[in-house]
Every structure is written in structure tokens, then in C-alpha cells.
């Protein structure tokens, strides 16, 4: 089986984002060759992308099922608070991280159960969860930042190539990509998003698939929360407000359809990278922050427009 038949008759959905990342990177490299091309800059960009990229892995799964998760930012903040509290209570870093991940998984399972079993709209459920989790984070932290000894967790995203956070993110990305494309569960995730009734007809339990998807994605948000703590070095209940929008943007730029049934891990990671490159590049050029916001927004709309064109052409 050659590559072409593997990919189908069409270009893969992530080809567009890849070209965009390369082009935007090249443009900034030409504009600011002395600073932008430095290894240090590449590392910084990679580190800045880690949190959004890890979240985008989970969000990709959610969006492929036709769902959405608005509670990402709140869950990341809650995770930083839980880890910080556990550390301050004298637990070791491993216990603290595992405890926070357990909380995140529990949150995801609850959201999944409401969406899957009670057939509630994911938008509404996670909108509620967004506020609840933010409130819980503030309550747990007594509405202030929690200082703590991070006991080595701060090294997760240290400023060199051996930073474990980078490699964890890369491993997770490969893991989720393999899960989506090479496993039966992955097929079912796409099936539920593409045509839930058809999936049900084939003996698949869409509710079970959704519960697992929301649980896995929240677990990934939890991992992102640990990475966030590593850069913050404190537990901050007001951190990452609006993060979910960046994450959704990354996934959409990566070629996913909010209607479900489409999306790719490679695309989403490239989407996250693209946004970082724009932000960093703009800073290097000394452009005011409002210009990068306009540019990022335009790219989101452009990405979807290109995707529509691609579909229209494929249909003809």
C-alpha cells in the first residue's frame, strides 16, 4: 500500500497548517534574522507552545466527536492549585501530580457522563464546568496564589533541549495520534463524530466513547496544568483564563471541523505552533500586541475558509 492510497485521493488536512507554519516562520526569519533564528528562540517557542499543544491534543479528540470543551482554562488553573496545595501539605511531587491528574480525570468523566449518558449539549455542560472549576480553584486557594516549594517540578520546562516537558508533550502527541488513527477506539471516535446514529447501529455505544474521550482530554488538560505550574512555580486560581479559545483555535487551524468527524493531531499541534510563531515573531519585530491578535484571528478564519474550499473541490 503506497503513501498516496494511504492518505486518500486528497491532500491531508494538516498540509495547509504545515505550509502556513513554514511560510510564517520564514517571513519572520527574513525580517529579524539576527534574533529569530537563534536556537534559544526556537527553544523558547517550543516551551511556550507546550501547554496549548497538550491541551489541543485533548481538544482534538473532543472536537472530532462533534463536542467542545470550554472548561480547559479553568481545569488547568485548578490543576496548578491542587498540585501546589498538595506540595505545600508536604507530599512529594509524584503524589502531588498524580493527585491532580486524578482530579482532572474525575472532572472529565463527569462531563463525559453528562454529555454521553444524559445527552446534554457539550457547550452547555462545559460552560457550566468552566465556571464551577474556576470557583473551585479560587475556593481551594483562598482566592490567592499558593506559594510552594515545587520540589523539582520547575525543571519540567527548563530552558534547554533536555527539558522533560518538551519530550513529554511530544510523546503524548504521538500517543494520541496513534490512538486516533491506529486503534479501534480511534475509529469509534471518528464514527461518533461523523454519524452518531450509524455508530450506534453498528453496535458502538456512543456514550461510552464520549465518556472516555472527555476523560482522556481532561487528563491531558491536567498534564498541561502541571506544565503550567512548572513555569508559574505557584498555584494560581486566576491563571489561563481564555486558554480554551486558543486551544480551540489551534485545533480548528489544524483542519478539524466543529461539526465533528474531522481533525488530526498533527494539524492541531501545527496550529498551536503557528500561533506561537506569530506571537513571538511579532514581539521580535516590536509590533504592538493588537496586531498579532488581528493576525491570529485572521488566520483562524482563513484556515476554515481554505478548508471549506478544499471540501467544495473534493465534492466536485
Amino acid at each position: 500500500m503506497n503513501l498516496r492510497s494511504l492518505l486518500g485521493d486528497r491532500r491531508p488536512a494538516w498540509l495547509g497548517p504545515l505550509v502556513a507554519v513554514v511560510v510564517v516562520y520564514a517571513v519572520f526569519a527574513i525580517l529579524t534574522p539576527d534574533t529569530f533564528l537563534r536556537t534559544q528562540n526556537l527553544l523558547t517557542m517550543a516551551r511556550q507552545t507546550v501547554v496549548v499543544a497538550i491541551c489541543a491534543l485533548g481538544m482534538t479528540m473532543v472536537i472530532v466527536t462533534g463536542g467542545i470543551d470550554l472548561s480547559t482554562g479553568s481545569l488547568v488553573a485548578l490543576t496548578t492549585v491542587v498540585v501546589a496545595r498538595l506540595l505545600r501539605s508536604g507530599y512529594g511531587p509524584v503524589v502531588a501530580v498524580l493527585g491532580a491528574l486524578a482530579v482532572a480525570a474525575l472532572v472529565g468523566a463527569s462531563i463525559g457522563a453528562l454529555v454521553g449518558r444524559l445527552k446534554m449539549m457539550p457547550f452547555v455542560v462545559t460552560l457550566g464546568a468552566m465556571t464551577i472549576l474556576r470557583g473551585a480553584a479560587k475556593g481551594l486557594a483562598d482566592e490567592q496564589k499558593i506559594d510552594c516549594d515545587t520540589k523539582g517540578l520547575e525543571r519540567l520546562l527548563s530552558a534547554d533541549i533536555t527539558a522533560p516537558g518538551l519530550w513529554i508533550a511530544l510523546t503524548l502527541a504521538i500517543g494520541v495520534a496513534v490512538l486516533l488513527n491506529y486503534t479501534r477506539f480511534g475509529r469509534h471516535v471518528f464514527a461518533v463524530g461523523s454519524n452518531e446514529a450509524a455508530a450506534r447501529l453498528c453496535g458502538i455505544d456512543p456514550a461510552r466513547v464520549k465518556i472516555l474521550v472527555y476523560m482522556l482530554s481532561s487528563l491531558l488538560f491536567g498534564v498541561a496544568g502541571v506544565m503550567e505550574l512548572s513555569t508559574l512555580t505557584v498555584g494560581d486560581p486566576t491563571d489561563s483564563i481564555g486558554l480554551e479559545l486558543d486551544v480551540i483555535a489551534a485545533v480548528v487551524i489544524g483542519g478539524a471541523s466543529l461539526a465533528g468527524g474531522e481533525g488530526s493531531v498533527i494539524g492541531s499541534v501545527l496550529g498551536a505552533l503557528l500561533m506561537t510563531v506569530i506571537k513571538t515573531g511579532a514581539v521580535h519585530r516590536g509590533m504592538p500586541s493588537w496586531t498579532q491578535e488581528i493576525a491570529t484571528g485572521a488566520i483562524i478564519v482563513l484556515a476554515v475558509a481554505v478548508d471549506r474550499l478544499r471540501h467544495a473541490r473534493a465534492r466536485r
Binding site: L6, R184, C202
Partner: protein
């Protein structure tokens, strides 16, 4: 529901005379190197129901799209009421009085009937809809369609209407778009195109629809009827035109032309012996062993109320019944997709029960995903699922069922109806179920594919599967099944050998 089907007797044929209201001459159209229309001529008179026949891909849709201004022909001369007619777009066609009701339902189910009928035509002053005027338009257009006596309420949501009533609302909307409602005396629409209007209707509703179409025809409308149902054409059309490979292969009066000839014109060959001989010993008195399904007094929350039957290995059991009698619901109960409230289903099939849904796009297939993924979609299988293995498997089934596709990676939505049906069947075959519940397998697919699909069903029974076949096409049931049971308002009668049934007796039984 009291009037027997077929009561839609047409009024005396006086209207269909005089010069044609619509003339199409020498229509040619190519997409790339593929010539879809090669000089098609069609002429339709005022007060005439003109059937446009042909297999899928014969060029019917393209011709209609040209007529409605949705497509421009490479070469074509059209005249509407004697005047040259060349609509630059759908809007222009509507203003000229040429309107269409498409095959798929296009109502906004969340809006009211009134809002649907005037959608896009809302009379407004300073941006505010003039509600009185809007209501007048809707009432007039709907009045033309429903006639006096029967009323469709204007202020209920379209989604709450039956499918048959929704169809009437669509026709009313088309007439309103054609200007029906802007004139006091009613009809200014000249040509109404109905694309497969009865595909989703039961016998009763179809008959009632045709009563209304005859009334519109009597009011002077020219109706172009695009359909696969030859019986409808013979009962209701005044003339027919057959398209094949982009040319006109036959025309005439369907009431006097033998149906075999029309089929020959459509297919370009003799119809294969429609009757696939059922397997020997399954017919008549089946033996006791090999029972796959034992259904006893099964009932769901609304329909069916009570169904009892036994399905044996190697037989095709047909279920006949009007739309709304609970046929699909019965299959869903047996498959375990819906919960039963009474009765039992004993499944003695090790490999389980599979269902082929009547709703290909809605439930049967993932239209946006590849053929390979559709075929291999399964609860079973190993945890690892490599794309290369997936596509190899897809290619195997494409060859097995001779599905017409460019590759296993082609998305299912790009296939024709018949080939989509084969993809669905391939999935069931791959699972190797013992019992197949098959719901309306030939809906919306062309004549040639129909024969193939039904032959496949017989072949599966011969290989030892047990099959429950639901179909609105009674001839299909009679020719394919070993035994047939009639479902009437949720009650299933005892199955009887197919040799004791004819189409007429089935219809009589189902509608009594």
C-alpha cells in the same frame, strides 16, 4: 385514511392540449470530457403531468438544473409560453414561473408552516414583515395545494407535521415562489418540477399527494414528474420521456405503452428475469431446526403493538405494511436499538443480528468518511487498526460486491445510492451476522442496482443466513421473499408463503 389507495382518479383529460408551455430543444451539456446531455428535447403542455424517466446518471437532474437556472447549458434553446427563456439563475426561473420541489426535504423544521411558505418572500415595510400580507400569501398558496376541506395549520412548527404534509407545504412554497400568491386568481407559476415526490411517502399519502397534483394540473399548471416509480407514472402521468446516456430514448403515453417497453427504453436491454427463484426447501413448510429468531408478542412503546414470528436459516421473511405501521420500529426492537415494553425476542444466532438502515445518510453511513472506514466500522476487532490494513480490507469488499468507486479512500457520500447501499451491505457481510434485518434496501436507487441488491439478498439466504426484509415495493417482496407477513397498525399477521401473495392482495391486506 378511509379512502382506498388509487382513489386519486384524474379529472377528464381536457386541459392537456394547445401549444406547449415549455419547450426545450437540443440541450447539450458536458462536465469536462463527460457529455451528460447530448441534444435532449422536451416539450410539456399546460395542464399535463409529464414524467421524466431514466436510471441514475441518465441526465435527468442536469436537465432539470438547466431548466431551473441552476446550471447553464453548453447549447440549448428553451421557450416558456412561446417566449425565449434562458434563466441566468434560480431566482430568474422562479420569477418566470418555473419552480421545483427537490427530492430531499428542505423545510426549516423549527419555523412555522407560514414562515416556511413565505421564506425569502416575506412582504415587508421598512424591514418589518407585514404579517397580514404574509398570512394571505401563505393561505393562498397552501389553499391551492390542499384544496378546500383539508387544512394544514399555518402556525404550527413544520417539524410537527407528518412527512406527507411537509411535502404539501414544500409544494405550496414552490408555488408561492413562482408567484402563485401575488395574484388574486392564484396561479402564475407555469411549470412545477416534482423530484421523486413519493419516495418518502406510504401508499395512502402518495395517492393523496397525486390527487392534489391532479388538481394543480386541472388549474393549468404543467407538472414535470421525475421519478423511479413506474406504477405512479402509469397511473398519473399523461406523457413520459425516457432519458438514457443524455439522449431521449423514448416518449409516449404511459397509459397505453406497455411497462416492459418503458423499462427496455430506460435500461437499453430486456429486464432480467425479475423473479429470483427462492431456495427450495425453505419455501412452503420449513423444518423445525435452524430457528434463528423467535419473536413472541413483541411490542414497543408506540409501534409495533404485537409481533410474533419465527425466522429460520436460509429464508427471507418479508414484512409488508404501510408507512407508519411500525415496520422500521419492529426491526429496531429486534436489533435491540430500542427498548421493548412487552414480548420476547429469542436470538439463537451465535454471530448476532445486523440491521441495514433505511436511512442511508442519516444512520446507515458516515458519509464524510471513507468507504474502507464505513465497511470496517465494528464493535469487534483488535485494538490496533492500521490504515493500510483498513484500506486493503475496503478494497477487498469493493471487489467482492463490485462497488463502483475510485478507491477505498473515497468518501461514502460521493457514491451513488446503489453503491452506498452496497457499502452498507458489505459492512453487514463482513460482520458475518446470522440474521440480517434489511429495511427498504432499494429506496432511491436505480433499477439495475435494485436487481443486484435483491439478488444479493437471495444469495445470502442461500448461504444460510436468515433475513427479514421490509419494503414498500410490494413487487420486490413478492419476488424475493419465501414468506411474507403483513403489519397493520402495529399488529403483525402470521406469515404466509409468498406464492399465496400478489401485490394487489398485499396492498389490500395492508390497507384494510
Amino acid at each position: 385514511m378511509t379512502s382506498p389507495p388509487g382513489a386519486a382518479s384524474s379529472p377528464p383529460e381536457a386541459a392537456a392540449s394547445g401549444p406547449p408551455v415549455l419547450e426545450i430543444a437540443g440541450a447539450e451539456k458536458s462536465f469536462g470530457a463527460v457529455a451528460v446531455l447530448r441534444g435532449v428535447s422536451l416539450s410539456v403542455r399546460r395542464g399535463e403531468i409529464h414524467a421524466l424517466l431514466g436510471e441514475n446518471g441518465a441526465g435527468k437532474s442536469t436537465l432539470m438544473r438547466i431548466l431551473l437556472g441552476a446550471e447553464s447549458a453548453d447549447r440549448c434553446q428553451m421557450k416558456l409560453a412561446g417566449e425565449p427563456y434562458a434563466p441566468p439563475g434560480p431566482g430568474a426561473a422562479q420569477r418566470a414561473g418555473v419552480v421545483m420541489v427537490p427530492q430531499e426535504r428542505t423545510l426549516c423544521l423549527h419555523l412555522t408552516v407560514l414562515e416556511n411558505v413565505v421564506l425569502g418572500l416575506e412582504p415587508a415595510r421598512a424591514g418589518f414583515v407585514r404579517r397580514g400580507a404574509a398570512r394571505e400569501i401563505a393561505e393562498r398558496a397552501l389553499g391551492l395545494v390542499t384544496g378546500v376541506g383539508r387544512r394544514i395549520p399555518l402556525d404550527v412548527r413544520a417539524g410537527s407535521l407528518s412527512v406527507a404534509d411537509q411535502q404539501l407545504v414544500e409544494i405550496a412554497r414552490a408555488l408561492a415562489q413562482g408567484g402563485a400568491a401575488t395574484r388574486e386568481d392564484g396561479l402564475s407559476a407555469k411549470v412545477l418540477v416534482l423530484d421523486e415526490p413519493t419516495a418518502s411517502l406510504g401508499q395512502d399519502d402518495a395517492a393523496r399527494l397525486f390527487t392534489r397534483v391532479h388538481a394543480l394540473k386541472a388549474a393549468g399548471l404543467a407538472v414535470v414528474l421525475v421519478t423511479h416509480f413506474l406504477a405512479d407514472v402509469r397511473a398519473h402521468a399523461d406523457r413520459y420521456t425516457v432519458l438514457r446516456d443524455g439522449t431521449v430514448k423514448g416518449e409516449g403515453d404511459p397509459k397505453v405503452t406497455p411497462p416492459e417497453q418503458i423499462v427496455r427504453e430506460m435500461l437499453g436491454r430486456e429486464l432480467e428475469a425479475a423473479r429470483v427463484e427462492p431456495g427450495g426447501d425453505a419455501r412452503g413448510a420449513p423444518h423445525d431446526e435452524g430457528v434463528l429468531l423467535d419473536v413472541n408478542a413483541l411490542g414497543g412503546c408506540d409501534r409495533p403493538r404485537s409481533a410474533t414470528f419465527v425466522l429460520r436459516r436460509g429464508e427471507v421473511l418479508g414484512i409488508a405494511g404501510l408507512v407508519g405501521s411500525g415496520r422500521t420500529e419492529l426491526l429496531r426492537l429486534i436489533a435491540g436499538l430500542d427498548a421493548s415494553i412487552q414480548g420476547t425476542v429469542r436470538v439463537r444466532a451465535d454471530k448476532g443480528v445486523g440491521l441495514l438502515s433505511e436511512d442511508r445518510g442519516g444512520e446507515g453511513l458516515m458519509l464524510s468518511r471513507s468507504i474502507a472506514e464505513n465497511v470496517t466500522l465494528s464493535r469487534r476487532g483488535s485494538f490496533v487498526s492500521r490504515p493500510s490494513a483498513l484500506f486493503a480490507e475496503g478494497a477487498r469488499w469493493i471487489a467482492e460486491l463490485s462497488i463502483k468507486a475510485s478507491s477505498p479512500a473515497q468518501s461514502a457520500g460521493e457514491l451513488s445510492g446503489g453503491n452506498q447501499q452496497k457499502v452498507q451491505l458489505a459492512r453487514l457481510l463482513r460482520e458475518d451476522y446470522d440474521v440480517l434485518l434489511i429495511d427498504e434496501p432499494t429506496r432511491g436507487i436505480d433499477v439495475a442496482s435494485k436487481t443486484q441488491v435483491l439478488a444479493l439478498v437471495r444469495e445470502l439466504a442461500r448461504r444460510g443466513k436468515g433475513i427479514v426484509l421490509v419494503s414498500s415495493q410490494l413487487d420486490e417482496l413478492v419476488s424475493t421473499c419465501d414468506r411474507i407477513a403483513v403489519l397493520r397498525r402495529g399488529e403483525l399477521d402470521a406469515p404466509r408463503p409468498a406464492s399465496e401473495w400478489t401485490e394487489e392482495r398485499l396492498l389490500l391486506e395492508a390497507s384494510s
